[in-house]
């Protein structure tokens, strides 16, 4: 099954495209740059779709596995693997990443005018990094991809961002690095702890998980405190990335200053790296600790849900509002994971995709209006429906998806998460459900202020409605928003074996109730 | 009676320290550079001496590589000094201190 190197292709095709753009496109051929960038993204998208089509939904194992020795040190006593694979947990994140990349590139055609070559190169390098994060099964490899993602994003915000971009991008990178440095320490510590058992320094996730399953933590080789500290180091890195309250303050800055495509990728994919890290690494590697800390994580998630929604409501900058809404929505994802039952975890995994689509589409839409009016202030708009009805309809569907209207994707995810949370603890779900109410408050507030009412600014009277390229960028997102909402089972079904195994590993609520 | 290897090593050490002193005390970029060459030479001497002592040619091979690298380094280094001299009009290393914190 793995001889084709499909995953490697998915990971490295964007990098090849980036190289092609950076090195081989002649000067003054910016159309080639754009075409090559989009072509690369589409090829990658096609590959991920092929991956999904060939994925075996009945298996809990990693599929499309590629496992090669990569670096060997100290006479083979330390091995670093090139080890990638996909299971139900990461399955949907790959097409999501590819799709958002393609959409972001398509959008950028009309939006980016300076240093295009560098821009598309960085976007594609970023894609390679993200694909790597979602597929790496060697902790060291994972860490490398994790950090690789930062660099292009740093430049994307820092070079193509708006006024305060330097502050925002430095804050983003330093904050994330602060967390991931601790994670690196925890990764190395973990590998050292395992040396007596494996006789070598290994970062192989399956070996680590086996060790944990066969009672590494119970064996008494490390103190409980050490285990907790390592768990917290992982959690901190992921919590900053999610971002979980109160580690979220980099997000509004980064979103507001980033170019549109940067926001789309940031919200759509990068945030998921945090929750993905939770479910892929933190939870199965530290089962007891995650059980023990689940209430705290759930608590922070709930605070984030309510707090993010309330703060979003007070924002006057549209991008800032959506950024805080992300804090709220990602809180749901963490809550579902903390519930540690099949409904909650499946809901979270689905909601990761949902949030990527909805918030990605929202940022895209805001970017389209920003390109026309060059402002993100909500008060600069009003009455837009009359001028740009097609835009208004797209925005409406996406906004409704974001506020969790049944029939659209947001509801499917939130419903599973909340029902899972309710099963774990009635109060969690009670409080979090109130966040859904607040979601309607700020989203309709935004929608009403932008699209309803009289046209107050003369500039808005002559706005052009969406052009074909913009509609083309939005249609796949909206189609998926509806499809996931109408038939979420299609998407949750392949996750089930992996989710079941995960819960078995962490000892969560696994047995059926009756 | 052959000279004991310690003597060679000691000589190497003395030359190395003298080179180091040159780097630390002089301000003329060229002299500092020459002092660095002196230090490299001192190390080469220990290599050769130990190669003889251990009856192995590897030490000599290392010296050979050091010389090659030193040659390249001299070319670049002198070019740098000339470039700095052109822009700053001086060969005093203390005049190039823009990296002050």
């Amino acid at each position: 099954m793995n001889q084709f190197g499909l995953l490697s292709a998915i990971i490295f095709v964007p990098l090849l495209g980036a190289l092609g753009i950076a090195l081989f496109v002649p000067r003054n051929r910016m159309n080639w740059v754009r075409g090559l960038a989009l072509g690369t993204a589409l090829v990658d998208l096609a590959l991920t779709i092929w991956l999904v089509a060939r994925f075996d939904p009945t298996s809990a194992d990693f599929q499309f596995v590629e496992r090669l020795p990569w670096i060997s040190l100290f006479g083979g006593n330390a091995t670093f693997l090139y080890y990638v694979g996909v299971d139900g947990i990461s399955l949907w994140l790959l097409p999501l990443t590819a799709l958002l990349t393609a959409v972001a590139i398509l959008f950028s055609w009309g939006s980016i005018q300076t240093r295009e070559r560098e821009y598309y190169t960085l976007l594609l390098v970023l894609t390679t990094g993200m694909m790597g994060v979602f597929t790496a099964l060697d902790m060291f490899l994972f860490y490398i991809f994790w950090e690789v993602v930062l660099i292009p994003m740093y430049f994307l915000i820092g070079v193509w961002g708006s006024k305060n971009r330097i502050y925002a991008t430095v804050k983003f990178v330093l904050y994330t690095m602060a967390g991931s440095a601790l994670m690196l320490a925890a990764i190395i510590t973990f590998a050292w702890i395992l040396v007596p058992f494996t006789q070598q320094l290994t970062f192989d996730l399956t070996v680590w998980k086996q060790a944990v399953q066969s009672g590494l933590w119970e064996a008494g080789v490390v103190s409980d405190r050490m285990e907790t500290l390592m768990f917290l180091a992982f959690v901190l890195a992921f919590a900053i990335k999610v971002p979980l309250f109160p580690f979220h303050t980099w997000l509004p800055n980064a979103h507001v200053e980033a170019p549109t495509a940067g926001s789309v990728i940031l919200a759509g994919v990068l945030l998921k790296m945090g929750t993905y890290g939770f479910v892929r690494f933190a939870m199965p590697l530290f089962p007891q600790a995650s059980q023990q800390f689940a209430p705290i994580l759930a608590g922070l998630a709930i605070v984030g849900i309510l707090y993010g929604a309330a703060v979003a409501f007070a924002q006057r900058d549209i991008k800032s509002l959506i950024a805080y809404s992300s804090v709220s929505h990602m809180g749901f994802v963490v809550l579902g994971l903390a519930a540690m039952n099949p409904q909650g975890v499946s809901g979270s995994l689905l909601q990761m995709v949902n949030h990527g689509l909805s918030t990605g589409a929202l940022f895209l839409l805001i970017g389209m209006m920003y390109d026309r009016r060059h402002t993100r202030e909500m008060s600069e708009y009003g009455g837009l429906w009359k001028v740009v009805p097609v835009y208004a309809i797209f925005f409406l569907i996406v906004a409704l998806s974001s506020l969790g209207l049944p029939g659209l994707n947001g509801f499917a995810g939130e419903f599973m998460i909340l029902i899972g949370a309710f099963r774990a603890n009635h109060w969690w779900a009670g409080l979090a459900t109130f966040g859904v109410v607040l979601g309607a408050v700020y989203m309709l507030w935004l929608y009403g202020n932008v699209f309803f009412g009289p046209i107050t600014k003369p500039e808005n009277e002559t706005l052009a409605d969406l052009n074909r390229r913009e509609i083309l960028a939005l249609v796949p997102l909206v189609a998926l928003i509806i499809l996931i909402g109408v038939a979420p089972h299609m998407f949750t079904e392949p996750m089930q074996p992996s989710v079941a195994r995960l819960l078995q590993e962490i000892g969560g609520t696994m047995l059926t109730m009756r | 009676m052959p000279v004991p290897v310690e003597q060679y090593l000691l000589l190497g050490a003395v030359l190395f320290v003298i080179g180091m002193l040159g780097v630390l005390l002089r301000r003329n970029a060229i002299v500092i550079f020459m002092s660095i060459e002196l230090m490299l030479n001192a190390v080469n001497l220990t290599f050769v001496a130990l190669a003889r002592h251990l009856d192995s040619l590897d030490g000599q091979v290392f010296v050979f590589f050091v010389m090659t690298v030193a040659a390249a380094e001299v070319a670049i280094g002198l070019a740098l000094i000339v470039a700095i001299f052109r822009s700053l009009g001086t060969s005093d290393v203390d005049d190039a201190h823009m990296l002050r914190g």
Binding site: - | E6, L11, A13, L15, V17, L24, M34, Q60, A83
Partner: protein, 177 residues
């Protein structure tokens, strides 16, 4: 004192003296010349250490080519009178202190190292190869082939780098007049 010892000590004194002279002479041209003396002395010591090839290279490359380069640069820049005062606080005393300390540490290390007295001349490899230089060549072209080839790359980069750095800055608009 055997001839070998005499040879060694004379050269050692010469090397140390020329090195000290090199770092203390105020005029760079003298420094270059003292350095040549030093390198030649070291080259002779290589001969004594049964490394005739290296001795030859030392004289050719160092005392020959590199020194000429140094001289060129010194001439190019002209005399630069070095100020005598030291303006970095405590640079001189600390430098001396560290130098003495390092020398002491190295000497102690050499003392402590238990070197068995030399038994004879370098034997096995040279004997089979039929000569010192041949032996070195075989070593270089077999075991160290890849690093050897890489040195050529280093030299190439060195050449390119030197050319780029030393070249005069390009005129901004050579055709406008």
């Amino acid at each position: 004192m055997s001839g070998a010892e005499l040879f060694f000590y004379v050269l050692a004194v010469l090397a140390i003296t020329s090195a000290l002279a090199m770092i203390f002479t105020p005029r760079p041209v003298y420094a270059v010349l003292f350095m040549v003396v030093n390198f030649v002395a070291v080259a002779l010591l290589y001969l004594q250490l049964e490394a005739p090839f290296l001795a030859a290279v030392q004289v050719l490359v160092y005392a020959g080519a590199i020194m000429v380069l140094f001289l060129f640069v010194v001439m190019l820049m002209g005399p630069a009178p070095a100020p005598l005062w030291e303006h970095i606080p405590a640079q001189r005393p600390l430098a001396l202190l560290f130098a003495v300390g390092l020398l002491g540490a190295l000497a102690t290390a050499i003392r402590k190292g238990a070197f068995t007295p030399l038994t004879g001349t370098m034997s096995s490899a040279i004997a089979t190869a039929g000569g010192q230089s041949q032996a070195l060549a075989e070593h270089l072209y077999n075991r160290y082939l890849l690093p050897f080839e890489l040195t050529s790359l280093i030299l190439l980069v060195g050449i390119v780098g030197a050319v780029v750095l030393a070249r005069l800055p390009r005129q901004k608009n050579p055709t406008t007049d």
